[in-house]
Amino acid sequence: MAAGVATWLPFARAAAVGWLPLARKTMPRPPVDKSSRSDEILFVNVSGQRFQTWKNTLDRYPDTLLGSSEKEFFFNEDTQEYFFDRDPEMFRHILNFYRTGKLHYPRHECVQAFDEELAFYGIVPEIIGDCCMEEYRDRKKENQERLAEDTEAGEATDTPLPDSATSRERLWRAFENPHTSTMALVFYYVTGFFIAVSVIANVVETVPCRPLKGTVKDLPCGEKFSLAFFCMDTACVLIFTFEYLMRLFAAPCRCKFARSVMSVIDVVAIMPYYIGLVMPENEDVSGAFVTLRVFRVFRIFKFSRHSQGLRILGYTLKSCASELGFLLFSLTMAIIIFATVMFYAEKGTKGSSFTSIPASFWYTIVTMTTLGYGDMVPNTIAGKIFGSICSLSGVLVIALPVPVIVSNFSRIYHQNQRADKMRAQQKVRMARIRMAKKGTANAFLQFKEDGGLGDPDSNSSALCLKNRSAFENQHHHLLHCLEKTTNHEFTDEMAYSEMCLTESVGYRTSRSTSLSSQQGALNNGCCPRRARRRAAMRLANSTVSVSRGSVQELDTLPVKSTNLPQQTRSSLNARAVDIKLNCSDRDFTAAIISIPTPPSNTPDESPPSSPAIPGIPGILRNTRATAYLQDAVKISSL
């Protein structure tokens, strides 16, 4: 109910005295209101800005924070005022809502910030007054669209495929995003080239070439070099067919793909060729065949996969469908009207070209679009008058829907620009955020290194601990507790991936050291996927022998932890495949709360009697233990 209603309620209740003499039954007792009746001024301090208002004003909306007893939580006894640690600018609007009953949306504020304030104060945004509601809704929708776009852009295309993707999924990804792999990019450019070649060939084969020796007539090039053109056409069609079949195979939903616009264009582009092959050299049918060749021009639409501008144009036309429809409809109406008028105006003249109303259509269209070919010209005065009116109105009718289409195009185009920019900036942003997070992760490890785990009384640790805030201290203590609970220790990404690498390096056959260095180059996560696969496959068949070369690799790595006990190495030999799988399970990159997830296995020290999983922590623990014992975890950049 509105604020006004609350004010008038006492009045309505008082007026109920008029029912009393008429009442058939006894009246119920009125509710007892224990609260103090007198109105008082309340002080509300919002981040230092003091607001004062009557208590009644706030009581108008009892289901909001300020109107209910919830505000007592914010009451400050010392200053006898309600203190809110929120934005005072926004609070002004909120308080005005209580005063006037209308909530206004400040145009210069961010719509999300406003929403948050409303949520805090328990006010439903639907109450926003009509004057500001449209603006609010528009901004909110815009914001939501933008967020949806961003999340889409973020999660959609550029994320690397999970390893479990089938070749089909890979193929589809390669087709949809050519820049994800070099093969796809090559294919993309090749198809683009062939589209261009095909279109140019279509165009050139109609150009008149010099006639053959002995004849006088100019021949179109298509007939002079018919074999060459035929071969070129065949090659292009073969490529297109191959591409289409590949896409069809790779599509996640074949029916949907087959119905999509691009696939229809593909089909239409290659069909004429096959129909031409199939069709016999029959006289009457070849006429139709010639018509079919027109459809070859549709190949040019295949460029829309390659060009974003074309796609945008397509979207624009689709989104302006109603405006275009209106344009078409009004033009048709005007054409019919003016054609009729012109026909009757010119009916009398001899030799007039306005032979029928449909014949006048041509004149009307040409005049309304201000083309004015001059092949049909009115001769009578009336005809000239109506003709000039026709051309004037043509300009108007055509000019009306055009700005709408233009603005639509502009909006879509800018949206697209923004999406591209967003995507580019997103990567930089993510990288920076990751760096910041890694910073905090490293803080804990640095803390440990500096001996923070040691005796709090010792002098050395005191120096390091001096600059930590209370929050950091407590946080680190928490992490330390977790370490003690699980009997594992935190380490950072690079050290961990090193350990993975050393194990994988150790188990590969030493075909060449270059391979292992290549391994290192591709290491951008825990264990590189391809290396893992290759390693797993090789391990399944080959015996493990650590040759001198790979041992050399191991030694050069200044991680002193890699003096693995021989026994464990041989035991791991048999279960190499499992190791890899376990290795990849943990994700050490971009730990959110800066805690790399420790191996979630049981911290038991017992020798691995069950399958591989307990064996691995044994190794890792040993390595880590040795690493920390030696008190130097030098991170090597592989």
Binding site: W8, A12, L20, R24, P30, R37, W54, N56
Partner: protein, 230 residues
């Protein structure tokens, strides 16, 4: 003939367009007298100031603080200081969403609008409230009688009572239990008249009314009901 006909039409069209263009330039203004009327309406938005606080204190039984509080609420809702009938109906209808309260609101409006000028000022509002909340039982009954007496002639006829009763039953709306029968108001009016109309002359005078009510225990008891609304 067709040629000439088209020519005539063509010339007619040209003349029309010419006239339109002339009008556009303001050279030819046919009969544009209506525009000036709108201006005056803007100036007539009245702002009413109530009488002073002391005067109202003297006229009503409210304390100064109560008057201040009432006025703040009133002024907030009606910045111009006046409530017209439409606004009043709208406000009152909000309390009775299931039914139609407009008719009863009309009667109420007339009861409050003592000087019958079509709008309720703050004084009317506050004086009416004072009677209803702080007045004596006789005053309240007098006010109720005034409400029932639609034409303010001092007599409440059966028709007037029926109108009031129907409007009250209208406020109940359709969804009641048991549902309102069509003759329920008539029935109720009959009962009322049986009780109130002493001399069976078909009308109820103010004295009959007050006398009967004072003798009725339940009515007297319920009169105290709305004492502490403010």
């Amino acid at each position: 003939m067709g040629l000439e006909g088209m020519e005539v039409m063509g010339i007619a069209v040209v003349i029309c367009l010419f006239v339109v263009v002339l009008k556009q330039f303001g050279i030819w203004e046919p009969l544009s007298l209506d525009e000036s009327c709108d201006m005056e309406l803007e100036l007539s938005m009245v702002r009413h100031q109530p009488e002073g606080l002391e005067q109202l204190q003297a006229q009503t039984a409210f304390t100064k603080k109560e008057l201040q509080s009432l006025y703040r609420g009133f002024k907030n809702e009606c910045p111009s200081g006046l409530v017209d009938e439409e606004t009043f109906k709208m406000i009152y209808s909000q309390f009775f969403p299931q039914g139609d309260a407009t008719t009863y609101a009309h009667f109420l409006f007339n009861a409050f609008d003592m000087d019958r000028n079509g709008s309720i000022r703050f004084e009317d509002f506050v004086i009416g409230l004072s009677v209803l909340l702080r007045g004596s039982v006789t005053e309240k009954l007098r006010w109720a009688f005034n409400l029932y007496d639609i034409n303010k002639d001092g007599y409440v006829t059966k028709e007037e009572m029926l109108a009031i009763m129907t409007s009250i039953y209208d406020m109940m709306g359709r969804y009641t239990c048991p549902s309102v029968r069509d003759d329920a108001p008539v029935d109720h009016v009959e009962r009322f008249f049986q009780k109130m109309d002493r001399n069976r002359d078909g009308v109820v005078t103010i004295d009959e009314f007050i006398e009967t009510c004072q003798k009725d225990e339940s009515i007297m008891a319920s009169m105290q009901l709305f004492e502490n609304v403010i």
